[in-house]
Amino acid sequence: MEEIRIGVYICWCGSNIAQLIDVKFIAGEIKKLENVIISRDYKYMCSDPGQETLIADIKQNKLNRIVVAACSPRIHEPTFRKALEKAGLNPYMFQMANIREQDSWVHIDKEYATLKAVALVKAAVSRVKHHEPLNKKSVEVNSATMVIGGGITGLTSALEIAQAGKQVYLIEKSDSLGGITAKIDLTYPDLKSAGQMIRPKISQVQNHNLIEVFLNTILEDISGYVGNFSTKVRRNGTSEEITFGNIIVATGLKPFSPVTIPEYKYKVLPDVITSIELEKMLQDGTVKTSDGSKPDNIAIIHCVGSRNEQYHPYCSRTCCSTALKYANQLRSLLPDAHLFDIYADMRAYGKGCEEFYTNTSNKNIMFLMYDQKNGLPEIRKANSSDNAGMIITFSEKLSGENIEVPVDLVILMTAVEAHEDAKEVARLTGISLCGNDFYIEKHPKLDPVATTTDGVYIAGTCQGPKGIDESIVQAKAAAAKVLSMIAMGSIEIEVAVSHVNEEVCCGCQTCIMVCPYKAISFDEEKNVSVVNEALCKGCGTCGSTCPTGAIKSLHFTDIQILSQIEGLLKTESETI
């Protein structure tokens, strides 16, 4: 067996790490460990020169194991693995110690933080001794794509891919395409017709010879892995199986139901309606109250269910500009009506939206500001002397007065929620959900349409509230990722998979039961379990379930983890 030669690098991350943790002390402590040939500290390990140092050390000192103590491995593990590869070392002969996110950024006491860092690095060192080289494997990519959701996002993604000449399966649960966009009359800030935009897209999708549309269809099951997925879809009671290489999830949104907000008396007072209900009226060109009369006073209330811990803490992003759009439409339909726009912060952020706000301000609309921390506006039925159907009362922020607004019709700008199917689709596709049930992207900034599951992309409002234009851009971005992958033709797959030692496996089949990906099958002849490496995602559950210890979860083997534990606890009584 070759001699173990470990290089250890402690990153300062500028001052992010170095200001709390004594990096030089760690480097010194680690230098004392067995098999550690090099132990350095460096300002920015992730930088080009940092990586160059690492590569040069590997080459000069014949290092065969590397430990970098820096930020979270979720950020830079790939970076350093690439550097190892560049130096001719197997990228898995590497271990990171997270001394930033889980140390210097969360602790205050320098001594403890440093001691903890030493422990983490020692753990990494003792773990890396047991690392084994793992080799990359690649699989062919099926050029077909499944798009889940037939709203504007799904349609755009489908078209974008089909127009590049690749097969698309578009799955829609309802009986029609178009989603929420089809229910919208106009868009902001240019007052374009949503219908006029989406109708041709729908017919294009329906008539495209490379797009197969599945309406009234639900997904029963998704199996496979990046490049080679298959699914069972059920349509009209019959099941069929389709295979494809990538998935774009665009399950869209659901409007929040304001029934739960007592102040607004939605469904109690008949003339309190939601934005979607107003859209219908606008499409028909007649806005009227429940008794059929023309409303003289109309109020639009923003942030209904948004920006409020009780309902949704997040901002629903589109409502402010949508409210401005309604103000315009109501003004043209009812030139003499008094319009009140009750907002919290006017978030007209998009291109042309601030100008739209300015122009709307000139249309004789009374803008009133409220602050949720002073309570929500309260709607009550008016008295006969009030000369209006309802009265809204609240504390107006810009005048500092408690005011009453007489109204006949109230429009609630309801929040945007993740679609109710999002959870189920997330389960099938392996996407993670954030606290608000929107999908979590692989990286919120740099990989906003990818997910942690390879080959599964998200686009549109399933990721978070956004406007039609923004959803379209996201749909295209997701399509770009898919097209890239199709163009490449093959893709490297997970290497840290499970491995069955056939010498030990006795065929109890417990592992088969626990595998979430059906990646393990039973070989009757040999009486052993067999792992399909392309299907295995490396969760390690089988490894921890196997009673004989025949299954090794590569890169997370028993010995690796046990040594890591040992390393972690070695520093017990040392002090600086």
């Binding site: 996110e101 889980q102 950024w105 969360v106 602790h107 993670s432 969760c539 606890l569």
Partner: protein
């Protein structure tokens, strides 16, 4: 000197480790007693690791996974939960206070909760005092 426990935590890569990272990016301070081992899924946590941690001197062991239903690998966290119950019974039999071992769900967005958990668990362990397992195992006659 006050007793500063050493706690080994096993965090799943997708939720809990990310949540712990979030505590970091959000700079939510918590007690420095936690030493983390990242695994891909809480389903990978097996009793052996916990025993080993206690054996090597950990005063407490914390296991964290995604919330039920949120597991990146569908239901690894449930598997962890089932083992946890059995393991708990076992460690009690072995004379270890069951409070020394915890299984909690931390999602990727729960940086705050993670920090609070770390503090609270550290407090619990501090109250229990140092674990004597390592010493006992080493002084076996």
């Amino acid at each position: 000197m006050t007793f500063e426990p050493t706690i080994v935590s096993f965090l799943c890569n997708w939720c809990s480790y990310t949540g712990a990272d979030l505590a970091g990016t959000s700079r939510i301070p918590y007690s420095p007693n936690l030493r983390t081992i990242r695994i891909m899924c809480s389903g990978r946590i097996e009793p052996t690791f916990v025993m080993k941690a206690f054996r090597e001197g950990a005063d407490g062991v914390l296991m964290c996974g995604c919330h039920p239903g949120d597991c990146h690998y569908h239901e690894g966290n449930y598997k962890c939960l089932r083992r946890y119950h059995l393991l708990q019974k076992y460690i009690v039999q072995m004379g270890i206070e069951k409070e020394r071992m915890r299984l909690e769900w931390i999602s990727a967005s729960e940086g705050k909760q993670f920090a609070a958990l770390a503090d609270e668990f550290t407090e619990t362990i501090k109250k229990l005092g140092p674990s004597k397992i390592k010493k006992v195992m080493e002084t076996l006659t």
